[in-house]
Amino acid sequence: MNTIFLYNFSGLALFAIGLHGLIRSSHLLRKILAANLMSSGVFLIMIVGAYGTDKGMIDPVPHAMVLTGIVVSVSATAVALALVCLVQETTNRVLLLQKRKKEQGRRTDA
């Protein structure tokens, strides 16, 4: 019971740390890492759910879901990294610019 609680708690903590990082950090790579951390937390909670059911019985369905989830998360990370490269190419920064700076970017583009 205690181990299960520990796993659940770490999953929740990973999710919370990721959420904090996604909102608070300004560098895009940090944001992407934070999003990955969040999904790792969710995967951990899913896996623990498979053990928490009955004595000795392990539910295979959450494992299948986590495998699918990992594939989805890897593709999402790939898309995000490609987009970061594009943003860096056009704005020379790896930040989500604030409003004033964004308009600057638009002006140079036009």
């Binding site: 899913m46 299948a64 999402a76 970061v84 056009t90 989500l96």
Partner: protein, 501 residues
């Protein structure tokens, strides 16, 4: 004669197959893309016809049953949304083929536009396949996967225009989308832990008030609301929709936001409807009111046409959330029918507006509203399409939005919660304000000299007009979609679709 399940599988496989082919053979996209769009439309038509004959169906792909297999649930709601996707998608595809062939014309910028076309078609077809999968899937985890594919391909479509503003908007959209789907997945994980099943029809019978269930519902709803851009969380939508290429804006505003909206309707209107107290529905209703007001006021203040249309999407999404408490209050099914009418007519009208705005942008070289005086003289069909689409958004009879608002008004008066009705009327007045503001410039004011710098292909003008007129006339064939909806409606007051576990 192929049955409903055959067509449903086609609806996912055909666009997916063509997306891959288009990606590999990018030289052929100008033929393969429109071909795939027509095949999609045929499959959607086939499914609708066979649905009318044989009614709701549940189909386990490859014979694998719940919980390991992927199950399709085809009921009235899915069929109507797929028909909407087919009609809007086909028009946008026709528009896009004109749009890209026009832009590839001048030799100097050929490289960039060819690149745009080579990536537009595979991504759009992938998005289309994901939308079909989402509307057909029966369980929440498959829906997570399709939701993620929808989000990722929509983000990449947004970034296609290559401008800094579009790429930044796409980046923000991507982060919001990742956060939304992560929250959704967390909700799904907790729900599975509670009930050990994710099939929506089965869940609807199993749910009972429990702490873990509430947390999971909150996480699911937060994620979906973020992706639907409901009022306080709408910050990412206007820049993403306004800076994308014209056909992409039409797809994003017309179809992509409907995907997560559809899920919210399923969850709040069907799966959790039995356990949610009436007071809980006040929250989405109130946020919807905020969206109607804030979106419309922001639309009135915008200087650029595409920004105005994007804020109008924020406002229109508000109506569909105002409808949630009314669906709960309603004893019959008219609030439910009203939402479907609002969704379908918004998809047609908003896509038509973005397509018209794209043609105007190409013709005038900009989309500053104040400098578009009298553009009807050079673009008569497009200007007419824009105004017709705008009028149908305002909810003039016989548009679909009129039927929707009329039914909602009736329900809100009958149930005694008249304040929702007042919000509907205020929202329509504000919509009239921003539509007339554009219409004045387009139609009434005298035209300055327009250099005829771009010839707009007729297919671009007429596809926009077709959709606008469809949105306007939707109210005239009201009975037909409503009949479809009643077959297998998941909502109280109707015979529920029988589940084969």
């Amino acid at each position: 004669m192929p049955d409903t399940a055959f067509w449903a599988v086609c609806l996912v496989v055909v666009p997916l197959f063509f997306a891959i082919i288009c990606f590999v053979r990018s030289a052929l996209v100008s033929i393969l893309g429109p071909l795939a769009a027509w095949l999609n439309a045929i499959a959607a038509l086939g499914m609708t016809v066979s649905f009318v004959h044989s009614g709701p169906v549940r189909y386990a792909i490859g014979g694998w049953q719940v919980p390991l297999g992927i199950n399709f649930r085809i009921d009235g709601l899915s069929v109507l949304l797929i028909a909407m996707t087919a009609v809007t998608g086909l028009s946008v595809s026709m528009y896009a083929s004109g749009y890209f062939s026009l832009r590839i014309g001048p030799a100097r910028e050929q490289g960039r536009h060819q690149h745009q076309r080579a990536y537009f078609w595979p991504l759009w077809l992938l998005l289309w396949a994901a939308l079909h999968g989402l509307f057909l899937s029966a369980d929440l985890f498959n829906i997570y996967v399709t939701l993620e594919i929808t989000g990722l391909s929509a983000v990449l479509l947004t970034s296609l225009s290559g401008k800094a503003a579009a790429r930044l908007a796409a980046m923000r959209y991507l982060l919001v989308s990742l956060l939304g789907s992560c929250s959704y997945l967390f909700g799904v994980a907790l729900l599975y832990r509670c009930y050990g099943i994710l099939d929506m029809a089965v869940l609807a019978r199993l749910v009972s008030p429990a702490p873990l269930m509430w947390v999971s519902l909150a996480l699911l709803t937060t994620g979906l609301v973020l992706k639907t851009a409901l009022f306080p969380l709408h910050f990412w939508l206007p820049p993403a929709h306004a800076n994308a290429l014209a056909p992409v804006s039409a797809i994003l505003s017309g179809l992509v936001v409907k995907a997560s909206l559809y899920l919210i309707l399923r969850l709040w209107g069907d799966v959790f409807a039995q356990v949610l107290p009436l007071a809980a529905y006040l929250l989405p209703g109130a946020l919807g009111c905020g969206a109607v007001l804030w979106g419309a006021v922001q639309a009135l203040l915008q200087k650029r046409l595409k920004m105005l249309i994007a804020y109008s999407t924020v406002a229109q999404l508000g109506y569909m959330f105002i409808a949630l408490p009314l669906i709960r209050l309603d004893h019959g099914s008219s609030a439910w029918e009203a939402v479907i009418f609002l969704i379908m007519s918004h998809a047609c009208a908003k896509s038509a507006m973005f397509m018209a705005a794209g043609s105007i942008f190409l013709k005038a070289g900009h989309d500053r509203i104040n400098d578009l005086d009298g553009i009807k003289e050079v673009l008569p069909v497009t200007s007419f399409a824009f105004v017709v689409a705008g009028v149908s958004l305002m909810g003039f009879p016989p548009s679909g939005a009129f039927i929707g608002k009329w039914l909602l008004l009736g329900v809100s008066l009958a149930s005694g919660q008249w304040w929702w009705g007042i919000m509907l009327v205020i929202g329509s007045l504000l919509a009239a304000g921003y539509v007339y503001r554009v219409a004045c410039h387009l139609l009434v004011f005298k035209a300055p000299f327009y250099a005829r710098r771009q010839f707009i292909p007729p297919v671009m003008e007429w596809s926009a007009l077709l959709l606008a007129v469809l949105a306007m006339l939707l109210g005239l064939f009201a009975g037909y979609p409503l009949g479809l909806l009643e077959a297998g409606s998941p909502f109280p007051g109707h015979a529920c679709l029988e589940v084969m576990p």
